[in-house]
Subunit: 257 residues, 4 copies
Amino acid sequence: MIETIYLEEPKLNNVIMIEGLPGIGNIGRIAAGYLVEKLKAKNFAELYSSDFFPSVILQKDGIARLLRIEFYYYKGEKNDLIIVIGDTQASTPEGYYDLSNAILDVARKFDVNLIITLGGLAREEFSGKPRVVGAVNNEKLLERFKNYEIIFDGNLVGSIVGVSGLLVGLAAIRGIDAISLLAETTGFPIVIADPIGAEAVLRVLMKILDIEIDLSELEKEARELEKKIKKTEEFQKRMIKEILSAKEENKEVSYIG
Amino acid sequence: MIETIYLEEPKLNNVIMIEGLPGIGNIGRIAAGYLVEKLKAKNFAELYSSDFFPSVILQKDGIARLLRIEFYYYKGEKNDLIIVIGDTQASTPEGYYDLSNAILDVARKFDVNLIITLGGLAREEFSGKPRVVGAVNNEKLLERFKNYEIIFDGNLVGSIVGVSGLLVGLAAIRGIDAISLLAETTGFPIVIADPIGAEAVLRVLMKILDIEIDLSELEKEARELEKKIKKTEEFQKRMIKEILSAKEENKEVSYIG
Amino acid sequence: MIETIYLEEPKLNNVIMIEGLPGIGNIGRIAAGYLVEKLKAKNFAELYSSDFFPSVILQKDGIARLLRIEFYYYKGEKNDLIIVIGDTQASTPEGYYDLSNAILDVARKFDVNLIITLGGLAREEFSGKPRVVGAVNNEKLLERFKNYEIIFDGNLVGSIVGVSGLLVGLAAIRGIDAISLLAETTGFPIVIADPIGAEAVLRVLMKILDIEIDLSELEKEARELEKKIKKTEEFQKRMIKEILSAKEENKEVSYIG
Amino acid sequence: MIETIYLEEPKLNNVIMIEGLPGIGNIGRIAAGYLVEKLKAKNFAELYSSDFFPSVILQKDGIARLLRIEFYYYKGEKNDLIIVIGDTQASTPEGYYDLSNAILDVARKFDVNLIITLGGLAREEFSGKPRVVGAVNNEKLLERFKNYEIIFDGNLVGSIVGVSGLLVGLAAIRGIDAISLLAETTGFPIVIADPIGAEAVLRVLMKILDIEIDLSELEKEARELEKKIKKTEEFQKRMIKEILSAKEENKEVSYIG
């Protein structure tokens, strides 16, 4: 069960959708979240799924809410934007596909003509200034994005796992242009936020969107987001750990099969 | 497949639903079960799910029954109560959401105006007298519950995992007020019952419901419940262990892919 | 997807269903399979499920077939019998419930008035002559089966995991009498066949059914069945092992999230 | 959700379907892929499934696409062929059955009269020249294929895991003849390509189809395919590893159940 609840039905034109969910270095989530804040984008829809981890998040005041994906809009000069952020991705392969398709349903509803997904590219021996690697879903886009300091090289990247990848792949079948922008990062452990990677994708994104935002508070924001996301991640890991620890215990019981 | 079978269709007014299922320290299960016993609440419905662990429980006399969730009612002076207890939670993320929604269907059927979920808050370095931490699903409830010795602090708790949390989150979407009451506990290993935590949530609950029940037999009851619940937990862990132990074996076989 | 294919539509009266699938010590499978052979029971239906392990079994001549559950009938003097044997149980909790319900659909189609499930009761420190422990699904059956050397004691057994248990529990909801007969066994490793346990449940079963069968070839049959079942089990374990071994490997790759 | 998208609707007669997906030694995938290339077979359909691993594959030029199964046709002298290759099999038991049934839907649409599945048979102590072991889905086929240097011996092979096996088993229920051809291989680790095994199944296949193809470039092709497939496999293993590594970590968190 996936449900998208609309808080508002904005009129949008010439729409570009930007997606950034938790993932490697939380680069996509940090970059898209920062964009929401700096553009003062407005929350118009929320998506809930029974494939999300079965828990609620507590806000500082003691109010709990379900894990969710949030949709924001921003009315710009050249393009209106839909920005997709959220608490989590999915917990099963099918859940990833369903979530990606539900996001594409929103894209189609608003006649989105380009989807940009943001993420990290984990490289074990990486250090230094991150490059931004791109993946598009048709050949014309290689031409369109060739002058944006994006590296297109299938030898550098094998796969894009999760919603950032699936949106690009599924959009092709629906005939929607899409590009994934991935900043190089160390990537382990995955819960550590990488604001430097987020900055790298935001710099490319600003050029594509032809907008200017102040990146000076990015690191501070990244640290706060990291704390929030870490909590959720840790609970999930802890529960997995609990289940697996059954393995080490060795109690005397009689049972039946 | 989830099925709720009604044994009786009680007429209830001004209904508060109280939920306590197995979890950290089994605090919710112990507290709600003790309430059922002391109020002589009456069993009116049973819920079965194909997402529960695939086994039956043997009662002392040799009669087996499916794992289930039980609904009890109690007709009180100020409020009628529905108390939800049971043998288990769910085995998949989707199963947790489905179970929580099926419980909310019962809440709606009886026009429940407040849901109170009971549980434990595991803190690794906790010792001493447990405090009760709360989580509500809207701002008005912070005001309503501010004088009940409940601590509201999102920094203390990050997430509430399982039915206790999901009921609060999903009720918000359905427009039903809900609060989770969580007693501090050590929480590991999770199968050890914590009657002291159960007492803490019951003391707050009695004040909210404005009823008085004798807590003197709580510890004894807790120990008996613990034994029952432990059996079910251990079977589940044992089966997981069996599967994982495949890893360590190393037999000579030829196989095909 | 579960599909039951009928090869024949027998007319049966006063029907008792006997179930024995692979499990602890393969006691149920051995006992029910031996019954099929000695009574020359006739195969009239096959059940296929997409929840079974995704493989085919090769017969000696090089012909492959899907994993399946088989239904046999035997027209007896006092009772006609339906005997349920098969290659496997299920792979998910939901799969277990679905399989058990599909078997109950067959029971209802032939107006079965008693279901007897056969299995093993693993006890770590067990040795010697196995007793047969019983579990029924209503109180009247305790009276009916009190003179058959069946031990009814919920303290001895906590749960019955798998189809043998679920059939008893689910039959109660459908109003069908059911009893599980479980022979004590060491139970580890679960792939080792226990013909002594199988003999114990068969002795009780013969008394209940009031039939006589020659048990002298049971051990030989058990060893052959063991070989067949072991192959299937080992393939399943090997695949799980393959997946888990990913954990220990540590290759240099770059990937994206 | 499984979707088969047709790029073309070819008219085919007297059709044999050949399947080769990634598996043990990638023998089936290499053999079928080589056949596609050497026969210049034409891609006419693509199958997408939400049970596939949730990622996209990057091609060398930076264009990403979903994981998929591809159908090719070749109009031959005696038989027209449908060749099925792809990036992956499935991620759940149900996914394997659904995928196999979706492939059989294509077989039925084109009135396929024989299905030949290609794969490897892993034998731990195997070395030397691989034999080809066969498995058919009815007795008449044993006679039909007795003169093709195929070994039929159920003692040599216990099970055939995955689509290669399920196609043979499920085709029997639909009344379609099918044979699995499996070359002996060492099989571990499973990501290492075995072009020698692929050559062995291709030699038998050429005789059955009565066609001649040049096998001299097989090893080179195998190495390139291996690189591609390895990338996908490693991402999948890495993700599993990430999840399992949660087990070893031991952070101080407070959580709730």
